[in-house]
Symmetry: C2
Subunit: 217 residues, 2 copies
């Protein structure tokens, strides 16, 4: 039995790989493991059956035998722990990679998501245009620090790892924005990661879900 993950039946990003199932799909592709996908509608995400899997009513979830997980970071970590290819074998290097996984999701992502939340929740408020530069300044601080640390390295710490996978999905939320383009090394880092065959396969698979769903509508 393959593990089963959940993903949006009709992704609000129109298959651009911004939904968090992309992280999990990419991880499965990197370690060359098959998986099944169960699509859920927005209404189904708030059903008791889905809330039993995911208390915050989101995707993705992960089910395998008696184990059910939520939180994309934790699911990627679980895959990385069970299959070689996404975490170093050296104990210290592995601990540092886990550190960067938390950094991607707890230090970088919240500032970027705040820009999306502001647009979504406050885009029609009179103060929105004045808040945008404040939000962008917080993102710029973090990206400046990240860029300084990455320098001309290929990946965050040694070989490509689950930390790069998560960090790139976080930075991709800024794709096309001036803020990311201000750092040539971060732009190149995202491009390097998204050229990986595993990324390309995961992206194509989730895009195909959206395209099939939009044809059916």
């Amino acid at each position: 039995m393959n593990p089963t993950i959940t993903a949006f039946a009709l992704s609000p990003d129109e298959g651009q790989g911004q939904a968090r199932d992309m992280r999990v799909r990419w991880a499965f592709e990197e370690v060359d493991q098959p998986y099944d996908v169960r699509l859920v509608s927005f209404a189904e995400m708030k059903d008791p059956a889905h809330l039993a899997l995911h208390p915050f009513g989101q995707i993705p979830t992960y089910e395998e035998d008696d184990l059910a997980l939520f939180e994309s970071g934790a699911i990627v970590f679980h895959i990385a722990e069970r299959h070689p290819g996404l975490l170093p074998t050296d104990a210290d290097a592995r601990a540092r990679a886990v550190g960067w996984m938390f950094a991607a999701l707890n230090t970088i992502e919240p500032t970027i998501l705040e820009a999306e939340a502001a647009e979504y929740l406050e885009g029609d408020k009179p103060w929105y245009v004045q808040r945008v530069p404040l939000i962008e300044a917080r993102i710029r601080t973090r990206l400046g620090e990240l860029s300084a640390r990455l320098g001309d390295a290929e990946w965050l710490d040694g070989n490509f790892s689950a930390a790069d996978l998560l960090m790139v999905t976080v930075l991709r939320r800024l794709e096309g924005s001036e803020i990311l383009r201000e750092h040539a090394n971060l732009t190149a880092y995202v491009e390097r990661a998204t050229r990986r065959p595993a990324y390309q396969r995961a992206f194509a698979t989730q895009l195909a879900v959206f395209e099939a769903a939009s044809r059916a509508v």
Copy 2:
């Protein structure tokens, strides 16, 4: 040689245990491991020597032999992996606990920190009072979901774990606020955790740092 962590020389929370070294101190106390603390000023946190340890110029960091880590969640995980008491031994239960660690830091904490960031960065703006209810609504949604999942359980999933440790430090940021008091089970959960002797020892140790520093000023 004990591991060495960094903490604020003069904590902005005046020793109320809101700084992120508290999480790491608490973890050490739960697993009964000694540790050393190096105090850093705000200026020192932006020095190249500290940035080499922590690219985002924050505390805590963790150093032991050749290993240097940052991100409080990752440091707590590292301690929990190396010493019994903070993660289940059963593989599935352990994966779920890791899931809750990510949930505390990636799903719950960002909404709560946004309230603090708004006060700090926008408290003097004309729109601030109108934003507060929007920010609080986001926190309320997450706490409602968390409260529903916790129900009348003692801890998030089975025995006390590193996930509860992180979640409680996140919820403590709301201590004294009406938002947390709306959920009797979450209030009781925080009280249950903070009554643990290990928490009490960690809290007293970090408070003593602040008290000594403020006497010296």
